[in-house]
Amino acid sequence: MSEMTTLREAVAGLVNDGDSLALEGFTHLIPTAAAHEIVRQKKRDLTLIRMTPDLIYDQMIGMGCARKLIFSWGGNPGVGSLHRFRDAVENDWPRPLELEEHSHAGMANRYVAGASNLPFAVLRGYVGTDLPKVTKTIAPVRCPFTGEELMAVPALNPDVAIIHAQQADRRGNVAIWGITGIQKEAALSAKKVIVTVEEVVEEFEPRPFQIVLPSVAVDAIAVAPKGAHPSYADGYYDRDNAFYEAWDPISRDRERFAGWMERHVLDTSDFGEYLQSIGKEGALR
């Protein structure tokens, strides 16, 4: 049964140092507000799970929150590299980052297995690539009927899953529409679930390709308007493409990155203040 709370309380109460966290949102509805609150609360030794690490994990990695990353594509979409991610992998800065990498299909099916309470999932892939040489969580499995050999990947069951959604209703149900990506499986695969939402409404209207996550599958709901910025929220605001481009020079340089994060994240008390803060600077310096 979900509880309405603040993002600060939700993160303080449900996220512990050393946890495995899945912050999902496949380019749409990326839970930036929650990622920043985790940085503010200086959580450490986290295993960060996410198909597309994106800017939020670049920031968490650069701020030293992560000891391990489980992922499938680590770039700045439409721009280029995630420089904090690269600096951690190439130069161990600010600390070494253990990698467990898969393909998108592998990650998606690992969440499906986790949500289904199965120890593994089966797919056609990986064979002939170098991924099985560097990733231990890929193993062959044989079909008991045809004898055909396929690849298996183990289930993902994060300690905490965090997603951003458009709406919650009074009873604590969560509505997501548009591109819903892997959010449902990520949430249902986790031991605890935090959802940030744009707003709370009396009841949901039908929306294109909407899914509803029932209250019983959610632990905490916090309102965080614009909480997916610079990603977008279908029906609320567009993707801030300029911010993704601006992030490239900001994140290239360790000092500039650290200063930016301190100014806009550590020195602000919540996401509302963060938005004001980067708004003043035009987000670009």
Binding site: S72, E90, L123, G128
Partner: protein
Amino acid sequence: MTRDLSASQTAGTDYTTDEMMTVAASRELKDGTVCFVGIGLPSEAANLARATHAPECFLIYESGTLGAKPDVLPLSIGDGVLAEHADSVVSVPEVFNYWLQAGRVDVGFLGAAQVDRYGNINTTVVGPYEKPKVRLPGAGGAPEIAASAREVIIMLRHRKRAFVEELSFVTSVGHRYGGDSRSELGYTGAGPTVIITDLGVLRPDPETKEFTLAALHPGATVEQAKEATGWELKVAGDLDTTEPPTERELEVLRDLKARTEAVRRGARI
């Protein structure tokens, strides 16, 4: 920075080599085909095709948008513009399991950081995996697209650092070691059938499956192509020259990119 480079580097005519590359790639897409599209150059070429000779192309993006009809080029694989006019939107597990793995994709359209002579792709690391010289983004959807799409079209700029003798890492399988070695892997797809570059078009030898120069874009030379290839590039006996972009193709492409640029400069908080 490759962007500036190629923009400056025109073929001495009224279009850039990048434009020639995109146009050439778009022509590879037949109308009505189901196409699984990667972001960037492939998406640009696929949408040019849809806006010109292939209006009934069914575009699938890994974010779960089926039959996407973007009016501007998506900057990310999950832009709202992809869902807006899509025939359907499904979850990520569904798009990979029920669509790609199910064999519903005719053409997989991929970019790459590095390819080798057999069309194997590296998007993971340059240098040793444990201590990479360059850490690349990683696999994304490419390995399964390369595995399960009926055929694969690869697009990347022709550079020696991209067309390499040996890959640091095989992220996605092309024709593996050449010959029939791919078929032993049990994949349903036939593998890469063409590599489109800013200099020309490479196609696999029917026997060895080694990619050889099949056509040059206007203004490009065999020497340039060999110079920009890390392996001993073979040249087809009947070397073609690509038809230059038509007025229409250039107009539509530039219009598409202009609208996209407007959006890129768009949304602010």
